[in-house]
Symmetry: C2
Subunit: 351 residues, 2 copies
């Protein structure tokens, strides 16, 4: 019998954080691509555009004028998916027609006053200001809401409608689906094995090494064993940390530096401003999030869509929507490619 090689032989892998499976069919990279090619990203974004509602001094949809901010700037989303005061749909009359109340707030956080920079092109101290703002907004909204979702959609390919560097924060009165699954999986693992799932996972990846992308004193970046997106990564602290506000100043500095390195590698991969959605997951917050959340380990997920080049993405359609996620290169191959890339941004290298 032929011996198994992950890069040659399709197989399925288990995602223990979300109780899901992914089909890994690395030999599919051999097929020629004749499908849709994405438009190349905007190359010239003006540093300041008075009509861009995210810029310092600009007037937003609700008539408010932005301050002349110099670092980060947080404001309420003018078209929020979650509002603090929606009435409840009332009791459901049938188990197949269940609706529940949803309340919350949506904020936008600008990373920098300039529209023509992105995180990898910002300095480490500038990124550190973003990390601090993430911790503050988690603390502030987490006082009231059980879940505070920080996420960044980067690039038009990811539905991002504004090139100005920014992320969003949606806090909700309910634990969203993905958070519920991570809560359930991490709690079950802790009950069974006596330690947090992602603490053990990080330790194992440091030993096995084949999926590591970057390591630093306090952090690691790896392509998870169960990654779905071609160049998906997981960013983990080495220490057991439950939520962003718990990070020490040294951990925050180190995080800023490893993020800059990761995002530089991402941009260098296809020499493009690399699109992705990313977000932070930490222990639930709010009044009910008491002591019992030691099963949670803080982490960030990066989900980038590109597969073959700056303009050829992975489509999560058909089989993926109706049956199961499927990937076309192994996580180990992706990690190897990311590891090999320089930590100096291709824009700066050319200068």
């Amino acid at each position: 019998a032929t011996s198994f090689r992950a890069s040659e032989h399709q197989h399925i892998r288990y995602n223990p954080l979300q109780d899901e499976w992914v089909l890994v069919s690395a030999h599919r990279m051999k097929r020629p691509w004749q499908g849709q090619v994405e438009p190349p990203p905007l190359t010239t974004v003006p540093r300041h555009d008075p009509h861009n509602p995210l810029c310092p001094g600009a007037t937003r949809a609700n008539g408010e004028v932005n301050p002349d901010y110099e670092g980060t700037f947080v404001f309420d989303n003018d078209f929020p998916a979650l509002q603090p005061d929606a009435p409840s749909p009332g009791p459901s009359d049938h188990p197949l027609f269940q609706a529940e109340a949803a309340r919350g707030v949506c904020k936008v956080m600008c990373f920098h006053p300039w529209s023509d920079v992105t995180l990898p092109l910002m300095s480490v101290p500038e990124i550190r200001a973003v990390v601090d703002a993430w911790a503050s907004v988690t603390e502030e909204l987490g006082a009231q809401y059980p879940w505070v979702q920080i996420f960044e959609n980067k690039g038009a390919m990811m539905g991002c409608s504004n090139p100005h560097p920014h992320c969003q924060v949606w806090a909700s009165s309910f634990l969203p689906d993905v958070a519920q699954r991570e809560e359930r999986c991490q709690r079950a693992y802790q009950n069974q094995h006596g330690e947090p799932l992602l603490v053990e996972y990080g330790r194992q990846e440091l030993l096995r090494k084949e999926r590591l992308v970057l390591t630093s004193e306090h952090w690691l970046v790896l392509v998870p064993f169960w990654a779905v997106w071609p160049f998906q990564t997981l960013l983990l602290p080495r220490r057991h940390v439950r939520r962003l506000p718990e990070l020490t100043p040294a951990e925050r500095d180190d995080l800023s530096s490893i993020m800059k390195k990761l995002l530089t590698k991402y941009d260098n991969l296809f020499e493009t401003s690399f699109p992705y959605s990313m977000g932070w997951h930490g222990a639930p917050t709010g009044s009910e999030a008491g002591a019992n959340c030691d099963h949670w380990q803080l982490h960030a997920h990066y989900y980038p869509p590109l597969l073959r080049s700056a303009t050829v993405r992975k489509f999560m359609v058909g089989y993926e929507m109706l049956a199961q996620a499927q990937r076309d290169l192994t996580p180990e191959q992706a990690a190897e490619r990311l590891r090999a890339l320089p930590e100096v941004h291709y824009h700066l290298g050319q200068k």
Copy 2:
């Protein structure tokens, strides 16, 4: 207190078929769209292109020559994600690193010899031939494999790399993720309520009427209460049917006719060849799929990405990937719009 209106007040809804929630924020449709606009679909596709590997008489990547087929034509995918003979990855050495064997086959099914037609532009008897081919391939591959996933990716926006009308069939040695969830949910419902989840659901929707799109003697099409995609629909038989091959000739004719009507409405919605991924779910097959699958009701899901126009889609990114699915109009609003559309195709009306 303000009284609840689904179209004004955000809320969450439960998907009992997949044990998931969706955030419904219909007021979001008011925000202006400044994000990415998709390229318009190809307008002129040649009826026959000898270099297109799906056309009658064309040579495929493996050197085989297609027959001069006149109806449907099924062949093995030349770049299959699943192959029948992959070796097993062997036992896992850690609960966080679980991999399992995956075996299967991938087929392609052409619907019609012409490249410039789509299902809604085909005649009812031509569509009936597709339905029969779906039933046959389920029977054939289901003899060996526990899951036979029939799916159609339509349109370049859905990663479809060939304009020729076709679908794919991926049969696997494992029950894919989505199938596992539907299995678990339908089994639990049957145990608790004594009848199949989707049989009761269809009956309820026929009574409530507000989410119905089309009904016929044997079938119904509705926007599910928990729909995620803007114009997502569910196609259900009225009778309890477990798998495609069980359909009677009358049910197959009626299915062909209701599919033509649904897909015509879809095309008419934004006067474009409407992109979507669709697929069939029925009871598991294979040697172990014995008598105990009465909790399954056959159904097809349609997942179309368009939201506002032929070129503005819904992006399932950021919050959706990291927290929970979110939709921008209510399922009732979507059903009302689809119901109101003519059943004559806009191409034919113009003639």
